[in-house]
């Protein structure tokens, strides 16, 4: 199936051809093009390698849900809902997004002068029942994604070992880390540009 993908940031930030933000983005053609290429490399990969397409969509939906961005969540969850391969998956995902809600960044710094800035917060774990539906590999990925979204400064070799123990490979962890981090970037560009676009329209009105 070959299908031309629209520019995802334009789509989700509501940037229409000829608008003020369209001309702003047009002044950064390489950024626009390569942000899209990053999306395609992660979600329409030439070869999925050690991370399946369904795993990629599930993890991205989880991240968008944790950022409380309903449009971006819908965008990523849609292919999962449409495929209908596992009708429980989306229900479980919604429940896990609910139990993973927090406000970040938080977490501890390495012991030393910065310890005064330590901030406690949720240490998210997939619930036991939902772990059975998601399986060990995907459950471990959601727990790692939550760590990276909210308390990246608490990342550790032990967190990577937990992924390896759950069946992730080194190559798979690199792709997973890029996916979580890219979606964190994409969400912020969309959130920022949507707001700027709305401000610009108000100023022009």
């Amino acid at each position: 199936m070959t299908q031309v993908s629209p520019d995802i940031i334009d789509l989700l930030a509501g940037i229409t051809p000829g608008s003020s933000l369209d001309s702003i983005r047009a002044q950064r053609p390489e950024t626009r093009e390569q942000a899209q290429q990053s999306y395609l490399a992660l979600f329409r990969p030439k070869a999925p390698g050690d991370v399946s397409l369904a795993e990629r969509q599930t993890i991205a939906s989880f991240i968008a849900g944790l950022h409380r961005q309903p449009d971006i969540y819908e965008f990523y969850v849609n292919p999962l809902e449409e495929s209908g391969t596992d009708r429980w998956l989306v229900e479980v995902l919604k429940a896990e997004i609910g139990s993973g809600q927090a406000t970040g960044p938080y977490g501890d710094y390495p012991e030393g002068p910065l310890s005064v800035e330590n901030k406690a917060g949720l240490l998210y774990r997939v619930s036991d029942t939902n772990r059975d539906v998601l399986g060990e590999k995907l459950s471990a990925a959601l727990e790692h994604a939550h760590l990276l979204v909210f308390r990246p400064r608490e990342a550790s070799p032990q967190a990577l070992q937990a992924l390896l123990d759950a069946g992730w490979t080194t190559d798979g962890i690199v792709t997973l880390s890029q996916l979580v981090s890219f979606v964190a970037f994409q969400i912020r560009v969309i959130a920022g540009l949507s707001l700027l676009s709305a401000a610009s329209k108000r100023a022009a009105a």
């Binding site: 702003i24 390569q34 760590l147 070799p157 890219f182």
Partner: protein, 200 residues
């Protein structure tokens, strides 16, 4: 066979924000320089990056690394128009300070200092944190970058208005957004795939 994460046991690790030239060591095995194929080299974009264990680890997914590297370079180096380089680096430093990436903050604080000649103000941001008073224009850039770095993002109309009042046009505000957003990508990779090592 299950692979094993590396626990490097770094002695005297950096535990404060600094502009010193600290290093970084990975928790997963990078590819060996001798094993890099043409596809890997294209993923690295610049041949010199083959010397870096960070990029030799990320190049395990060369398609993503190539697009990410090109995104990075355009956001920070394409300064013919828009926000000056120093202030893009300030946005990167503020995001890194907020997320707590000591390594990323060190690199981009040095760039911010170099391009602005305001090393003392940059150091103040590292020492006092994102509430440091750096003058209104820089305060507005730091506040916007920090708000965008929050999860969920707390970037609002008031941040746009404050940046505009500080003299930034739409393109420049978009540059702040991209600089801060990009470091929400970079920080998570640097923090989760390895750790900082002391300056030599």
């Amino acid at each position: 066979m299950t692979e094993v994460a590396i626990t490097p046991g770094v002695g005297n690790p950096p535990v404060t924000f600094t502009q010193a030239e600290i290093g970084w060591t990975p928790w997963l095995q990078p590819l060996a320089e001798d094993d890099l194929t043409d596809r890997h080299l294209r993923g690295l974009v610049e041949a010199a990056r083959a010397k870096s264990p960070y990029f030799r680890l990320l190049v395990r997914d060369p398609e993503v690394l190539e697009a990410r590297t090109k995104t990075d370079k355009d956001i920070f180096y394409n300064t013919r128009t828009g926000l000056p380089r120093a202030e893009r680096e300030l946005a990167a430093t503020a995001a890194s300070r907020s997320n707590g990436c000591i390594f990323c903050a060190s690199v981009h604080a040095r760039f911010a200092s170099h391009h602005s000649n305001r090393g003392d103000d940059v150091q103040k941001l590292l020492d006092e944190g994102v509430g440091a008073d750096l003058g209104e224009r820089w305060n507005a850039i730091v506040a916007a970058s920090v708000a965008l770095t929050a999860t969920p993002p707390a970037f609002g109309d008031e941040h746009v208005a404050r940046l505009a009042a500080a003299g930034l046009d739409e393109l420049e505000i978009a540059d702040v957004i991209h600089g801060a957003a990009f470091f929400n990508w970079a920080n998570r990779l640097m923090l989760s795939l390895g750790e900082p090592t002391p300056a030599n």
